[in-house]
């Protein structure tokens, strides 16, 4: 090893020992001067770095808060979604209670135990059977209106066909009795598949759009006055000879059925017109109001047209002598 190299090495060692001594000196400093030294270093040397660290910590905390806020937000959304379902269920049960109160007697409440994933959407398995008094061909209704009729009865369960069933038929009429026909499932495609058809309406009877259609009571299965649905439009090309056909939007959606009432024959014979009357009258009022507003608009239009004609063609206005 050369003399210069040995000298460098010695200088390095001396410098290192000096550094270590300085560090030791800092370590054994009394608290007051130690804090002053630390403060001076912090203020002059690493102030910006300390600020960076503070910002980083704040960012970290903000991210943590953001995460917890997200969790809270998600929980609120989930609860709100559950609340909507509970409210809907409440409304359904309230309607059913209302229906029970309106019918007063002669009905059997039942749960619709339908397995739509595996089964037939045209039938319902009901949680009430012969033991509860359910009989074959009893009408099945809900607060919204007509659902179907019981086809088979077991001891504790029964099977009902609902209105989309191809064999379902009900004699129907408008509330004022001006038009009578037979309602059955509409054999349409897509969304139209879930509509009904009203056939055999006499050609002279015209039904307004939105007009409610109720069971007529003819045939002896369904009592008069059970709401079936509202008229959507006349079916073109379906008018045969002396009759017309109409498309009807059903009052009951089978997919939303949970609880139903089975009307016993004695109750059906008694009549249930008063049960759905309020709902039917509300629908009728809506049709009438729409008709009135259309008539008013037509009158306003013709008045405006007349006024425009009289101002553009003064020679056409006659003055009385």
């Amino acid at each position: 090893m050369s003399r210069a190299s040995r000298g460098d090495s010695r200088a390095d060692t001396v410098l290192a020992i000096a550094c270590a001594l300085v560090a030791l000196l800092l370590l054994i400093l009394p608290p007051a001067p130690r804090d002053r030294v630390a403060a001076a270093i912090r203020g002059n040397l690493i102030g910006p770095l300390a600020m960076l660290q503070t910002r980083a910590l704040q960012t970290g905390r903000a991210l943590a808060v953001q995460d917890s806020l997200q969790v809270v937000n998600d929980s609120i959304v989930i609860r709100a979604q559950r609340l909507a379902a509970v409210e809907a269920e409440n409304a359904r049960l309230r309607d059913l209670l209302g229906l029970g109160r309106a019918l007063q007697w002669g009905f059997v409440p039942a749960e619709a135990l339908v397995d739509r994933a595996a089964g037939d959407e045209h039938t319902l398995l009901l949680s009430a059977g012969a033991t509860q008094g359910v009989q074959r061909l009893s009408a099945v209704v809900s607060a919204e209106g007509l659902v179907g009729l019981v086809q088979a009865v077991d001891a504790r369960t029964s099977t009902a066909i609902v209105w989309p069933h191809p064999d379902f038929r009900v004699s129907a009429t408008t509330v004022d009795g001006s038009a009578v026909g037979i309602v059955s499932a509409h054999a349409g495609d897509g969304a139209d598949r879930w509509l009904l058809e009203l056939h055999g309406v006499p050609y002279r009877s015209s039904i307004a759009v939105g007009m409610p259609v109720v069971s007529s009571g003819l045939g002896g299965v369904f009592p008069r006055g059970v709401l079936i649905g509202t008229v959507v439009r006349a079916l073109r090309g379906e008018s045969t000879g002396w009759s017309r056909s109409y498309l009807v939007r059903p009052a009951v959606r089978p997919s939303e059925l949970h609880s139903v009432m089975v009307l016993l024959p004695e109750r059906a014979a008694e009549g249930v017109e008063s049960v759905w009357r309020a709902r039917v009258e509300a629908l009728e009022r809506r049709v009438r109001a729409a008709g009135d507003s259309l008539a008013a608009r037509a009158a306003a239009d013709s008045a405006a047209r007349l006024a425009a004609d009289s101002t553009t063609r003064p020679d056409s206005v006659r003055t009385l002598p």
Binding site: D8, S9, A11, D12, T13, V14, L15, A16, C19, A20, V22, A23, L24, L25, L26, L27, I28, L29, P31, R34, D35, V37, A38, A39, I41, R42, L45, I46, L49, A50, L52, Q53, R55, A56, L57, T59, G60
Partner: protein, 163 residues
């Protein structure tokens, strides 16, 4: 070291210091990565032992100023690590990246052990856990990051590596 190498070393050191004060608190790991040890070792193997000791003293004092009651402990530890790293660079700092990672690992362990003992703030099982569990874990994380840093600077630093 030529000018490019000095420049790269300075930039890398500045980046490591910045990461130490931004990324490390953000990650908030119990066994965090010590970017400053990587920086001091990166410098130490490229300068003379005296300069390495001085670098260690400055960096260590700067860290200590954040925790005044431990002022001097980190400085002493970093001085020793810098000096020894510079002395032992011929033995450890080779072209083998894996060996360099071991070098960083040992540097971090030495730094932690010296500074923790010198501080004298921990005692009993806490001290034992810190020395035999958390320090090696932190050293592992530091070695992994050190490996990445060394791999990044190696193409430029390859020539005249030992200053």
């Amino acid at each position: 070291m030529n000018l490019t190498q000095r420049l790269l070393l300075t930039v890398m050191l500045a980046l490591l210091v910045t990461l130490h004060f931004t990324l490390r608190p953000l990650l908030d790991w119990r066994a965090g990565v010590d970017f400053l040890v990587i920086g001091v070792l990166l410098v130490a193997v490229r300068v003379r032992p005296g300069a390495a000791a001085l670098t260690g003293l400055l960096v260590g004092t700067a860290i200590d100023s954040m925790t005044p009651e431990a002022l001097g402990a980190g400085a002493l530890a970093m001085t020793l690590v810098g000096f020894l790293a510079s002395r032992l660079k011929a033995a450890f700092f080779t072209d083998e990246l894996g060996l360099n990672a071991v070098f960083v690992f040992l540097g971090k362990v030495a730094y932690d052990w010296v500074s923790i003992v010198a501080e004298g703030r921990l005692s009993g099982m806490t001290l034992v856990w810190q020395l035999v569990a958390w320090t090696p874990l932190s050293a592992l994380a530091t070695a992994a990051v050190g490996l990445l840093v060394l791999a990044a600077v190696r193409p430029v630093m390859a020539e005249r590596r030992f200053g």
